[in-house]
């Protein structure tokens, strides 16, 4: 049984400069308990796609033009607001890149972690406080003055890593089935990043939560995810189990992305660069969105719509030439 099943999602923004097709035909699914990585560069639509099924895309200018997102029999894209509210923050939670802007600076962290329990689970204050204290302890929020002081701390008392732990506590305190983590470690130092990723994995094992991890960092994907989607210009260009994606990437964009990382080359060697820029999303793209920058472009790439097709077990790519066996 799929936990989340998104089909042909299109989220467009109607701006003065035209229609921006931020997400343009994305289909994906999440199995219970698994970790799905979504990797892509800025503007690839990876965040907007995930905001879409939580009903968090500001409208106007945003509009969900087509698609469905089935979560336990409910289409999140068409669900009335009260239904969506009962799911969001309870059965699907989200953590963001910058915990300082996501946390309320006027509220103690204890109150913030209690909030979902009061709102969604209808617990009494005393019980909610107990559960929140336990949660803060299990995410490793430390305070020399004891658990009481931990609950009473304000976000500005805490370091970036500790704030992200509070966010994780808040997101997981209701034991959601799905956690969407959007660049959760991008603002953190590498040593703290390693701790936070380990914490997410640990909590996931304990609670059986499925995770969608959105990141631009392929290294983060390699160590945490079961499956990976590569996004570009609002579409999915490749989808594969993590090992397959890293050891036998099929789409030219994925390969170019891996080649342009400094770690792919010997020190001092010239890095591979992708020529050109990502396409403007204001004009409709016919054919493959990566075609203008691709080293393997043929005529067919510019005309035939590039659709995701399986080329090996569990491994799908949107490259027409790979599908036909030319590459």
């Amino acid at each position: 049984m799929r936990l989340l099943d998104v089909d042909n999602l299109r989220t467009w923004f109607y701006t003065r400069n035209g229609i921006v097709r931020a997400v343009d035909g994305v289909s994906l699914h999440v199995e219970p308990g698994e970790t799905l990585g979504i990797v892509g560069e800025s503007g690839s639509g990876k965040s907007v796609a995930n905001l879409s099924y939580l009903g968090l895309v500001p409208s106007p200018p945003g509009k969900i033009v087509s698609g469905s997102a089935m979560f336990d029999g409910v289409d999140l894209l068409k669900a009335p607001a009260p239904v969506l509210r009962s799911i969001r923050g309870k059965r699907i939670s989200m953590i963001f890149q910058d915990p300082m802007t996501a946390l309320n600076p006027y509220m103690t962290v204890g109150k913030q972690v209690m909030e979902p329990l009061l709102v969604h689970d209808g617990l009494g204050r005393a019980e909610a406080a107990d559960r929140a204290a336990q949660m803060l302890e299990s995410v490793g929020l430390q305070d020399a003055a004891g658990p009481e002081a931990r609950m009473r701390a304000y976000p500005h008392h805490l370091s970036g890593g500790m704030r992200q732990r509070v966010m994780i506590a808040m997101a997981l305190v209701t034991h959601p089935q799905l956690l969407i983590a959007d660049e959760p470690t991008t603002a953190l130092d590498v040593t703290v990043q390693a701790q936070i990723l380990e914490l997410i994995k640990q909590m996931q094992r304990r609670l059986g939560t499925a995770v969608i991890l959105i990141t631009h960092n392929l290294g983060v994907i390699a160590g945490t995810c079961d499956r990976v989607l590569v996004m570009y210009a609002g579409r999915i260009l490749e989808s594969a189990p993590t090992r397959d994606l890293f050891y036998s990437p099929r789409h030219p964009y994925t390969r170019a992305l891996m080649d342009s990382m400094p770690s792919a080359r010997k020190p001092g060697e010239e890095l591979y660069t992708i020529p050109g820029l990502p396409p403007e999303l204001t004009s409709e793209i016919v054919g493959c969105p990566f075609a203008p920058r691709c080293a393997h472009t043929a005529d067919i790439c510019r005309h035939r719509p590039a659709l995701l097709k399986e080329v090996a077990r569990g491994h799908a790519t949107a490259c027409t030439r790979v599908q036909t066996g030319e590459l």
Binding site: E41, S42, G160, D189, V190, T191, Q193, A194, L197, H216, N217, L218, G219, V220, I221, A222, G223, T242, R243, F246, Y247, A256, L257, M258, S260, M261, P262, S263, A264, R265, P267, G268, E270, L271, Y272, T273, I274, L277
Partner: protein, 282 residues
């Protein structure tokens, strides 16, 4: 005093001797008192040879940016010597410092914040040349065009404003501006950390090529060890205001000695699932 040219031959381009930059945190409004002292840079000594690329790595708050700002005298050092081409920058008056500045340029992380949004590319590139009197008005346009070509920006962009460019192109403008005065030493503070992987590769290649072509000396500050390892010959690792390890780039990355360097390197996520899995079992 030794003649300037003689001093150049014998000494490294930049010599830091026990540099300290402390910040005093003041409390109270009328009767100010010093409540605490933050030792942002706490006794750093480092030699940088002509034409060398030295990487400076460390986590946020370790003092790497403060050290960079101290070297170019954007903040004054509390103690120590900053010998640049044989002269102690720490002892120079603001007027004397202004004469040295063209030789010593900086590139910042966020090219959107470091470029004036109301200046076109050609104005932004011409400004330093006119201020320091290295080009006459008549020559400026030609020099601007040459600079743009060096950093890979098409000449037709000359009259455009920063907001019309992508992040990578903006960083090219910032690099061109740093090169405008023909500096001897460039300090780049996280020049690629705001950029996407594919654009990052373009900018790293550009920096490398410029350093090679113009025999530039570069101090490259980054929290990303892979970036630093790719460009630098030597790496200095900073922790709590001090350099805890300094050595050959390959040596530091493959055989780190200091426990802090070891933990830093082991925390870097590798784009390789098998290596990552093996690491978790440790």
């Amino acid at each position: 005093m030794t003649p300037y040219s003689l001093a150049l031959v014998r000494t490294p381009m930049l010599e830091l001797r026990d540099v300290k930059t402390y910040f005093q945190i003041q409390r109270g409004s009328f009767f100010k008192r010093t409540a605490a002292v933050v030792k942002a840079v706490d006794g750093v000594s480092l030699d940088v040879a002509r034409g060398e690329i030295v990487g400076l790595v460390g986590e946020s708050g370790c003092g790497k940016s403060t050290l960079a700002r101290t070297v170019v005298r954007l903040v004054a050092p509390t103690a120590g010597q900053i010998l640049f081409e044989g002269r102690d920058l720490a002892a120079l008056s603001p007027r004397q410092m202004r004469k040295v500045r063209p030789r010593l340029q900086m590139i910042f992380q966020d090219p959107y914040a470091s470029l004036n949004p109301r200046m076109t590319v050609s104005d932004a590139l011409a400004e330093p040349m006119l201020v320091h009197g290295v080009a006459r008005r008549r020559e400026v346009a030609a020099k601007v065009a040459a600079l743009m070509e060096r950093v890979g920006l098409a000449r037709r962009y000359m009259k455009k404003y920063p907001h019309e460019f992508s992040g990578g192109q903006r960083q090219r403008i910032a690099i061109a501006r740093a090169l405008a005065l023909d500096p001897a030493l460039i300090i780049a503070d996280e020049p690629v950390s705001a950029l996407d992987v594919s654009v990052q590769a373009q900018i790293l290649n550009l920096i490398k090529q410029l350093c090679r072509d113009h025999n530039l000396t570069l101090i490259l500050i980054s929290h990303d060890l892979a970036v630093v390892r790719h460009l630098a010959q030597r790496i200095a690792v900073m922790y709590r205001g001090q350099i805890v390890e300094l050595g050959d780039a390959e040596q530091i990355c493959s055989n780190p000695r200091h426990p802090y360097t070891q933990s830093l390197i082991s925390a870097i996520p590798l784009p390789d699932p098998d290596k990552e899995a093996a690491r978790m079992r440790q």
